[in-house]
Symmetry: D2
């Protein structure tokens, strides 16, 4: 089969590779029908994720069709259409039993990281019964690719941890795919205001279309002053960090209202300054989280019932065999006005 | 001034009455600009609420303008436009400090019940600072009359107690004003399905317009079978009782899924059969509640930000002086296709 | 091997039976070292649980040693000392993933009910990885038999659902083993008062020793008046029903304070009167639950750290081969002053 | 009357001052019977709190007897024995209605800060109805002085925000009075382990007496390694920061388990490094809080019912007129082995 293989920093090839086989009785092999590329894949390609070694097939998102199951798999059978979770969950360890699949003792984020991933014609999925989800017949499978990672990430790490509530003011720093996933899913809870903050006017325009009530271009405008203006000087109840650099986390600390929450979604490479000299008395909550994908069944329902239109995040379409070109587009997101790309086998 | 005064079962008059005055330093006198009639007022008129005695001005809903304030009132001043809460809250007792204003030791539901109410040209409001809410300039005040009682009731007793969540299936038994208030506010949480159950086709048609995904006429159809059909035999996650008779509470017990909630909103006059012989092992939660109106500030924000269009509940308009005619319309709700009426001074 | 086998109402025999074998790859066979008898076993023997058919080995509690594991079992190996949960959980179905193991689609309460149970020399445990718990070396295994069923039942159905909090007043109706399990675990949350109500003075005396601050013999005293007296007329914040008959559930409704909770633990055979004509406005919560045993890992920690002394519930000791005599003692609990019995193989 | 008056950095005098009078109708004047000194008072004396100006009477803790009430005060009368909350709450503003009294728009921490405080023979208490608490007859009033500030602070900022649960492992960094208040109140929730970390062996010995299961002298031992050892390498579920310097907050970040909480209680003067490069994926929660004293009624109940022995925090006793000497003792806490001092009028 063909797969997109990492060969060290800045080297990737769409090349022939052995088709995966069942290794454990709980495995399934899935024929990929649609996959996508994540910002994390770009981090890996830069060499920022040293656990990813030469020869690794990338990708942790996708939908497909069950090709083969291990003898212990009971929830799925050959031919079933499935959504692949970016998080593998054994279902048995303490963390899984507590709903914290991200820290599964033998799973977690392993696809396209510690084992071969989904940017390939076939992928082996460990713990299939608890890491795959049935796709109801008649579903728009493209929409569902967004449920492998970015929608649960934006929702769990941003919206749930940010405790978004009806009537709240939400500020989201970063209008990339993850920030937009937070924007879409924040609307599950009917906040009064959702303020998107980003330096890219195109992304802010998309944000408006996707439900933002206010946008701030923080290259051109003073985000702190604008948020104060929008909130009667109080600040935002929920602030979602969807970038992952010290500057944006710093900004979040200036935007949050007393009693508010800062929900970190961004992947950070450096420590940040936490202004406890000011915040110690502000009754705030800061959260971090690697997505658990515990809300995937719920998100599937909201897509089915059209409460969530995840397709709006897709801007570009490619054949799976055009994946090198798709990476190029995704890597030049601003130039290409790209959000999420879909690769169809 | 004129007021709608109760004179014993089935006797009410729009008659002259002394204009109310400040009695306690925490009182305000409000000039009513708009009020409405509640199902509870009809119960009182039937003689079902013996605490209401001859001579009582009815009504516990409305908006108006501050006419006079007591010396301790600090949040309001003469001329302020205010929303009147149906629940008076002293702000000081244990219950108020716990957010359970319905059980305020010197307040609670007293307007149009234990003291004179809002169906009059003027009303005295005890504990004004903690029982009135500022109406922002430019608001649609008719919409806000719905926030005196039915919207917080539908929301707190039905939706919050029913723990409605994204992706859930909600069944609401009763499509009268309160059931519709639950329907509107359930949508704050993006449930996948909201099934309205009522014997009146007009109200079911209104329900569809207001966001119900399914309707069941339980005079013509088997509600239990239909809900099973809509929910893959599981039942509904949240069941909201918005009628108040044994039959409907009985129905709710057959609709609720294992792990689900029955949130009682209806005012009951009789005990009901609780089928613990079946439900003891179903992991369900049943709640009762007299509205606390603790969510009024939040509801005001959702109306301001157009997340909630409470005006959709209003079907008829009268002058305040036509209140006898308005009662007639409201008492014949089915014939008149009436939901909520607005009386304007 | 020997097993205690049900042969229709009021017929049980300690007889020879085939030793169980691995049937599914997720099974384990456990050699029972200690087991006990539950009130539910007595119900079965009366013929009240028609799903239990002739030939069924009874019992759903116990500790033992792994004798054999199926090929998919990864958490346990031959020779491990294990605690058996009364609830079998597949770990994969929607209910298990939501933590509601009691409603597991292929498990739940099946031991000694739909499949052969633990009152035998060996038992087959389905879904071993997610239905057994490691016993740390050096543990008092007798104490841990109490964690198969009654402690999680008293805790989850009574204390957690009753939302017991520091400073609360708790009333527990029924001082049998389950009520006492609620009494012991309610103390995890430091309520100010725990009032035990039972008609048996011996059990009330035990309650005092186990931490009750007040006891009421409701055969001799007016429980409603006494609870009002103890609570400044307010009633109890949490009321736990640990009997399972209409009279006691009726009593609970008179004991609960506004804003309080009634947590049903009792197994009911009849419907009960729910006084919504009074309670609709009292802001109360009523819960039902079949134990999920989701708190077993936590309970194990509290036993290990001596926050919970579950051994206090044990009054009688027998050899496993004396089980007929043990049943006789347990069936005459009042005469024998019996709470829980331990049977040692 | 006499009062302890601040006259700029390092200058304080026990001097004559005008007895306070009722200024607002919601005020009460309280005759102080017992008061104490807080670490914050030492900060003020160093000049670290610039809002405190020359002439201010210090102190925000104490119990006393109502001397006079304003005309709007309804909950109290002359002669009542009262506990003074360190936080004044108007009961009417948005923050007070949400239970966030610390941010009351006209109150909050003002005693001994923005208005004259409790280290005097008399003190004026604004918003008396919602800032004072009745002391039940027969109470040990010395114990209750601990409820003005340190017990609600240790409990709300440390234990509640740290979400301490039965079976949890708790690490408390700092064994001063506030850390010990967290230690005492953490036990409301029956954690399995409470590890106290401090460089002072005397305070660690006190911690053991007050319920710590482990102690670490972090001047002599490697706290990170020891906590790993005590927790099977996982780290602590709840970590409570009760010091207020970058080093201890840094330590907390190394002690917290995945999924755990860091509850900041310490008053910080500098920003700290937050290691998001490591913690972004650890699913942790960090909280800050100025005490709201919303749990004071509950804490009073736990003291009354002897679930909480707050007296254990008191080490030294003085007459109120010996307050200069008491400050000297408290300022040399290590030398004097001082925790809290009581000053009796």
């Amino acid at each position: 089969m063909k797969a997109l293989v990492y060969h060290g920093p800045n080297k990737k090839l769409w090349e022939d590779k052995q088709k995966p086989v069942i290794q454990e009785p709980t495995d399934a092999v899935v024929r990929i029908t649609k996959t996508t590329i994540c910002g994390t894949d770009l981090h890996i390609l830069k060499g920022d994720v040293p656990e990813v070694t030469d020869g690794r097939t990338l990708g942790h998102e996708g939908v497909g069709v069950i090709e083969e199951i291990g003898p212990s798999v009971t929830n799925f059978k050959k031919g079933d259409h499935v959504l692949i979770s970016c998080i593998s969950s054994c279902g048995k360890c303490d963390y899984c039993r507590r709903g914290m699949y991200s820290h599964c003792e033998s799973g977690g984020w392993i696809l396209g990281h510690l084992i071969d991933g989904t940017q390939a014609e076939y992928v082996r999925i460990p713990f299939a019964d608890t890491s795959l989800y049935h796709i109801p017949e008649g579903s728009d499978e493209e929409s569902l690719v967004m449920l492998s990672d970015i929608l649960p990430t934006g929702f769990e790490c941003g919206v749930l941890n940010g405790q978004v509530k009806p009537g709240d003011t939400v500020a989201i720093v970063g209008a990339g795919p993850i920030g937009l996933a937070s924007l879409l899913t924040a609307q599950f809870y009917s906040p009064s205001e959702i303020i998107m903050i980003d330096p890219d006017d195109y992304r802010l325009a998309v944000s408006k279309k996707l439900g933002a009530t206010q946008t701030i271009n923080n290259k051109k405008e003073n985000a702190i002053e604008k948020v104060k203006e929008f909130t009667g000087k109080k600040g935002a109840d929920s602030v979602i960090e969807a970038v992952g650099i010290p500057e944006t986390f710093e900004l979040c600390q200036s935007l949050v209202a007393p009693g508010g929450r800062i929900a970190n979604v961004g992947v950070h490479g450096k420590s940040v300054d936490l202004h406890l000299e000011r915040l110690w008395a502000h009754n705030i909550t800061i959260t971090t989280r690697l997505v658990d994908t515990i809300t995937t069944p719920m998100l599937l329902k909201t897509v089915q019932s059209k409460k969530l239109n995840s397709k709006q995040l897709i801007t570009h379409y490619f054949k799976l065999s055009e994946i090198i070109q798709a990476y190029d587009t995704f890597q030049h997101a601003e130039r290409e006005k790209a959000l999420k790309v879909i690769l169809t086998a």
